[in-house]
């Protein structure tokens, strides 16, 4: 656990010191939720059926943007190479970066849940819903962390990452939106969608951990 915690602590410290990437992601997510709340007629219509889609598209775009930004600095400064030549397993580096991205994104997401609770007048802080958010976030952060690494040495990586990652996340998006809808009482039974979400998250996390050492090999 030593190297994982070392990388995690360093990444969180850097995220706090150089907030541009994460602050941009948080600002984007906030603006998106606010815009959706203005776009939908909150006074007259029942907008609750739209809420799961609003939340998860916002989460995904914010997460893809932030993951790409955080890794770009490592590549440009050569610090990623400095970690790769250290006597640390590549999987430990991946786990540390994954954990840091996960913590930072969960903070952004919980802030958006609070904002949506106020704007859409829906109780979102239920254990079931928080569980769906955490599981879904682990699933997509695993993939975005891996793919941001793979695109790290490619020109135009800021465009490449969303193009690569978003099609792969379609099953997760469907599972997360439907599970969130069921948790809000908009449709019956969260079980099948939780199963899809859980299986996808398990697959994406395992695949990312196993592929990371191959992805960073040049």
């Amino acid at each position: 656990m030593g190297p994982v915690l070392t990388v995690l602590r360093k990444d969180l410290l850097l995220a706090w010191r150089n907030r541009s990437g994460w602050a941009s992601a948080a600002a984007f997510a906030t603006i998106a939720v606010l815009t959706y709340s203005f776009a939908f007629d909150l006074a007259t219509g029942d907008v609750r059926p739209l809420l799961p889609g609003v939340l998860w598209t916002t989460f995904l775009f914010a997460g893809v943007f932030a993951a790409g930004q955080s890794f770009q600095d490592e590549v440009e400064d050569g610090t990623f190479d400095a970690m790769l030549v250290a006597p640390v397993p590549a999987t430990a580096i991946f786990a540390g970066k994954l954990a840091a991205n996960l913590i930072a994104l969960l903070i952004i997401e919980f802030a958006q849940l609070l904002l949506a609770t106020i704007l859409f007048d829906v109780g979102l802080f239920t254990p079931e819903l928080l569980g769906i958010v955490v599981i879904g976030t682990v699933g997509y952060v695993s993939l975005t962390t891996l793919l941001s690494t793979m695109g790290g040495h490619v020109r135009g990586r800021s465009v490449l990452l969303p193009v690569l990652v978003l099609p792969l996340l379609v099953p997760l998006l469907i599972g997360a939106v439907r599970a969130t809808g069921a948790a809000l009482g908009l449709e019956s039974g969260t079980a099948p969608w939780m199963l899809l979400l859980g299986v996808f998250t398990l697959w994406s996390t395992l695949a990312s951990v196993l592929l990371f050492p191959v992805a960073v090999e040049r």
Binding site: G2, P3, T6, K10, L13, L14, R17, N18, D77, G78, T79, D81, A82, M83, L84, V85, A86, P87, V88, E217, R218
Partner: protein, 236 residues
């Protein structure tokens, strides 16, 4: 090739790297003895950086073998044995010099990390600025801090790519004292100085179009036939 030794500090046999159909480094053999100081010379595009990246395990050879301090690639022991000083300082701009060195000391599990970090920061003249953000340091101080990063885990071999870049004369002297000319440390450093040999160099390896054109640093290994002809490949 002037002497025979069993265990070179830097060993390469038939090292080759291709990118697509282009061969950048072709069949490089090296056997640099422990404590030797080798200047890696060659024109731009000769393959110096690719060779150094293969020796430091940053890129995988298409063919050939590498041993550093007798250790195989992919092992933690090999990575502990080398310090890599690249084109970039490889530092976190938003961390302080102290935080940068602490981070790398933890990755390398340096036992007496605090004492070692203080010693190095004092030697490179950054002790009084240890809490400032690295981003505000000059290019020269970046290079000095990079030098401290490379040495924090006491490597046996330093692999450097034009390490004098950006350093003032005082910084170059410090680089020579702490790394390039330090007793006991094996050094392989690419240098752009082709008009004269650096003072620290005990031998040279010159690359031309990815091949070794001159090697006054390598030692003959047991089983090698001749120092004048092509060297045999004998795994140490």
């Amino acid at each position: 090739m002037t002497e025979v030794a069993a265990e070179p500090a830097v060993y390469a046999a038939g090292l080759t790297r291709q990118y697509g159909g282009v061969t950048v480094v072709r069949g490089v053999d090296l056997a640099l003895p422990a404590g030797s100081k080798t200047a890696l010379l060659g024109a731009n595009g000769a393959g110096k950086t690719t060779l150094l990246n293969m020796l430091s395990t940053l890129i995988t050879p298409t063919r050939g073998q590498v041993r550093i301090a007798g250790q195989k690639p992919g092992t933690a022991a090999l990575r502990r044995a080398i310090g890599v000083l690249g084109h970039k300082p490889m530092l976190y701009e938003d961390l302080s010099p102290l935080e940068n060195l602490r981070f790398f000391a933890r990755l390398y599990e340096v036992q007496d990390a605090d004492a070692r970090i203080e010693e190095l920061l004092r030697r490179v003249g950054l002790w009084l600025r240890r809490h400032e953000r690295t981003a505000i340091l000059s290019r020269g101080y970046h290079q000095r801090l990079a030098l401290a990063r490379v040495l924090v885990h006491r490597p046996a071999v330093v692999i450097a790519d034009e390490p004098e870049t950006g350093l003032d004369p005082e910084g170059v002297a410090l680089l020579d004292e702490l790394a390039l000319a330090a007793p006991g440390l094996t050094v392989l450093a690419a240098t752009h100085r082709i008009d004269h040999l650096p003072a620290w160099a005990t031998g040279v390896v010159r690359l031309e179009r990815g091949r070794v054109a001159e090697d006054t640093s390598s030692i003959a290994l047991p089983g090698e036939v001749t120092a004048a002809g092509p060297r045999g490949v004998v795994a140490p």
